[in-house]
Subunit: 166 residues, 2 copies
């Protein structure tokens, strides 16, 4: 047993190279969920987050993400996803589908876009058909589905675990 | 590229044995955060969650966790943590401390209690001194600290990743 003394809010862990993970959110039902995703993205050192529709980031939830994280607003996801694909990004969805891979076994490409689904509708057909792979977080009990912001944070964590220094 | 067809809300992944991870929350500032933690615990198949103080679980956030997840209410954490320790549970804190281990490298004991901190105060001294180990989730950028419910969900995910079938 150690002598544990709090060291809250010490500086961030250094990255040896900028994160190449981009987060892409469709038009969401809840700005609270979106803002929680923004906070998690900031904490994980992401540089770019794409959101859609009438999204509004709530500062009391997202907190003070720095200028490192650029947040872009688009009308819909497919055009920007297609451009990113042409730039060499793999498009990875987070969804339960017929061909989802368990996130435990999934090796994230370093340069990729993690695509999130709408709270109720999930990832819709026009986006699903663009994806290179889909990952799924195992669920073991009721209520049988993680909150979307929780699932997004877990997936970003898993990416960071695989690329601990960028 | 596959043909991805949504299969939302399919049944849970089977566990080969009941989860031996217990979650312990101190008196929290926000019932929203507590309720989000309850939802994540239910999704991960946990059987026991300890909360303190005037905690109230909000069903619209926690959703319908099943009877498998027993939620206990205590006045404070130390007495129940001491009892669990006597029953053979390792007490693992989630906090930034002088002796925290990076969660990427931490092998969770199967039989353990994950102890969460208060939103603003973190894990307080009287609980810190009972802990066997403390884990920390690397943070790479602003706002430099995950929301407590996000951090709890990530840690439970990491435990499940290490014990994918219970």
């Amino acid at each position: 047993m150690g002598e544990f003394v709090q060291t809250r809010h010490r500086g961030p862990f250094p990255l040896q190279r900028p994160r190449e993970l981009i987060l892409a959110c469709p038009p969401m039902k809840s700005n609270v969920n979106l803002s929680r995703i923004v906070r998690a993205a900031g904490c994980c050192g992401l540089r770019r987050l794409i959101c859609c529709g009438r999204a509004r980031i709530l500062p009391e939830i997202a907190r003070d993400t720095g200028p490192e994280l650029v947040i872009e607003f688009h009308r819909t996801l497919p055009p920007v996803l297609q451009r990113l694909k042409a730039e060499g990004y793999s498009l990875i969805g987070l969804e339960q589908t017929t061909d989802s891979q368990c996130i435990y076994d999934f090796a994230f490409p370093r340069r990729c876009v993690l695509v999130i689904g709408h709270e109720r509708l999930g990832i819709e057909e026009d986006v699903l058909r663009l994806l290179d792979a889909v990952v799924e977080i195992p669920v073991y009990g009721l209520p049988h589905a993680h909150n979307v912001a929780t699932a997004a944070a877990i997936s970003i964590y898993e990416y960071c675990r695989q690329y601990p220094t960028g």
